[in-house]
């Protein structure tokens, strides 16, 4: 029973692994389909640019592997860039992305103003809350006022019925989306203190339950 952290040279996979280790969850950073298919769940992290990430995924065939994992119902959690490129298109470099979830990733407007009327900082970097708390079992046990650590200049626009949380930075944007077994968050749970660790544990527990039902552990 372990989680696979997808390694495609995109930065924060080691941070995610450290958080799993701290929680006592077996995890492995891997780029191998032989590790990904038997895993109870996949964490799809990422820091950097959409175009470069897609180039790496396509070059290694991991784009097709990811699509197949989702088709067979393998639980998946996208983080930050992973959250963005699960959608169909990103305005970052006008990049066609994985298309696993309907929606687009858009750039924050340079005209964005904060609550004081000052130009809003871009990237949106720092701690921010999910308005009214997030919904779905990923947020189970997390206080509605809990905050998460964000670093991003683009925001996701998935189909409205998939939105699980919204956050305000000059404008409201979607900060978490998905459905049971396929989730994505714009923030970094591995760097979001106790609330973030709880979210990773919630994901793991879902994977453990569904894996036990299917007998794949």
């Amino acid at each position: 029973m372990s989680l696979a952290v997808l390694d495609y040279g995109a930065g924060n996979q080691t941070s995610v692994l450290r958080a799993l280790n701290f929680l006592g969850i077996a995890g492995k950073v891997t780029a191998s389909a032989a590790d990904l298919f038997p895993a109870s769940g996949i964490i799809f992290p990422g820091v950097g640019a959409a175009g470069q990430a897609m180039h790496r995924l396509a070059g290694t065939g991991l784009d097709a592997v990811l699509r197949e994992l989702v088709v067979i119902g393998k639980p998946l959690l996208g983080i930050c860039l992973g959250c963005q490129i699960l959608l169909e298109f990103s305005e970052e470099g006008d990049t066609d992305t994985l298309g696993i979830v309907p929606g687009r990733c858009r750039r924050f407007s340079p005209d964005l103003r904060d609550e004081n009327g000052d130009p809003a900082t871009i990237p949106h970097m720092g701690w921010n809350a999910c308005l009214g708390g997030g919904s779905g079992r990923l947020f189970r046990g997390i206080a509605p006022e809990a905050e998460f650590y964000f670093v991003h200049s683009y925001y996701v626009e998935p189909e409205p019925e998939l939105v699980l949380a919204r956050t305000r930075h000059g404008q409201e944007f979607c900060s978490a989306y998905g459905r049971d077994g396929l989730w994505a968050v714009q923030f970094h749970p591995e760097k979001s203190g106790r609330a973030g660790l709880r979210m990773l544990r919630n994901f793991y527990e879902y994977c453990a339950e569904t894996g036990a039902e299917r007998g794949t552990c």
Binding site: G11, T14, R18, G48, T121, I122
Partner: protein, 259 residues
């Protein structure tokens, strides 16, 4: 809405904290990992580590500290002190830091900022600026000049212009340290802080001079900083991070609720 961040700063030499840190309770006050863990649990939003000596052999010990920190705290942290090449930056990031802070090396070689931003992304590059107030002159129209070597060497560079240049080169964040205010405990340099904030779009951390919760409030409201760097105000046990956050919250400054 973004919360204002509270960032304790720890100076590390040879794997130990250099300044005495006084805590109630059983924390080994010489161990940076234990102290970082303590601040993390109290609700620090980020932590900064400065490697004070950065000789080659002590660098290895310091990287070991960075790794142990990364295994024990789950908030972002940055590392500065003696980083002067992309290879230095890479070593610290691989050890688990989110951000690297460059200061005098960037003044001497501004290309370091763009090289770092290209290699690791702007979000990973913080430029620390040491600044002294001087009479206004042609090269320093704001009256704030960039200094290095702890303020002993004046560089003939205007601090506000340098801030904008750092942003253009790809810095993701600026830490503005007033050498005049540093260590006085009489408050941050608010005019300088605000001038830099208004010259750039990236977040600015105010540094130098915090002696009371009120000073932090001023830096985050009048100074318009995104974050306040603190040291002695928490290291000597006068205030906990939680108390500081309660104070800021009670005065209308949005902070992340203590975890």
């Amino acid at each position: 809405m973004l919360s204002k961040r509270i960032i304790p700063c720890l100076d590390v030499r040879n794997g130990k904290l250099t300044k005495g840190i006084k805590f109630q309770g059983n924390v080994d006050i010489g161990d940076p990992v234990a102290v970082a863990r303590r601040y993390y649990e109290e609700g620090a939003d980020e932590i900064v580590f400065y490697d004070i000596t950065a000789s080659a052999e002590e660098r290895g010990i310091f990287l070991d500290v960075v790794e142990r920190v990364a295994e024990n705290i789950f908030i972002p942290f940055s590392v500065g002190g003696g980083l002067s090449s992309v290879a230095d930056m890479r070593a610290v990031l691989l050890a688990g830091a989110e951000k690297i802070s460059v200061n005098s090396a960037a003044v001497r070689n501004p290309g370091l900022i763009s090289e770092g931003a290209e290699a690791f992304g702007s979000q990973a590059i913080v430029v620390g600026m040491d600044v002294k107030q001087v009479p206004k002159r042609r090269e320093v129209p704001s009256g704030y000049e960039i200094v290095i070597q702890g303020g002993r060497r004046f560089m003939g560079i205007d601090a506000v212009e340098w801030a904008a240049r750092c942003e253009a080169l790809g810095a993701g964040e600026l830490c503005v340290n007033s050498i005049d205010a540093d260590g006085t405990r009489e408050g941050y340099e608010l005019t300088l802080t605000r001038a830099v904030v208004e010259a750039v779009r990236i977040p600015v951390i105010a540094s130098g001079g915090a002696g009371s919760p009120r000073h932090m409030l001023e830096a985050l409201t009048q100074g318009k900083a995104s974050a306040a760097l603190i040291a002695s105000i928490v290291h000597y046990g006068e205030h906990s991070i939680g108390e500081l956050k309660s104070y800021l919250d009670a005065h209308g400054c949005k902070v992340r609720p203590p975890a």
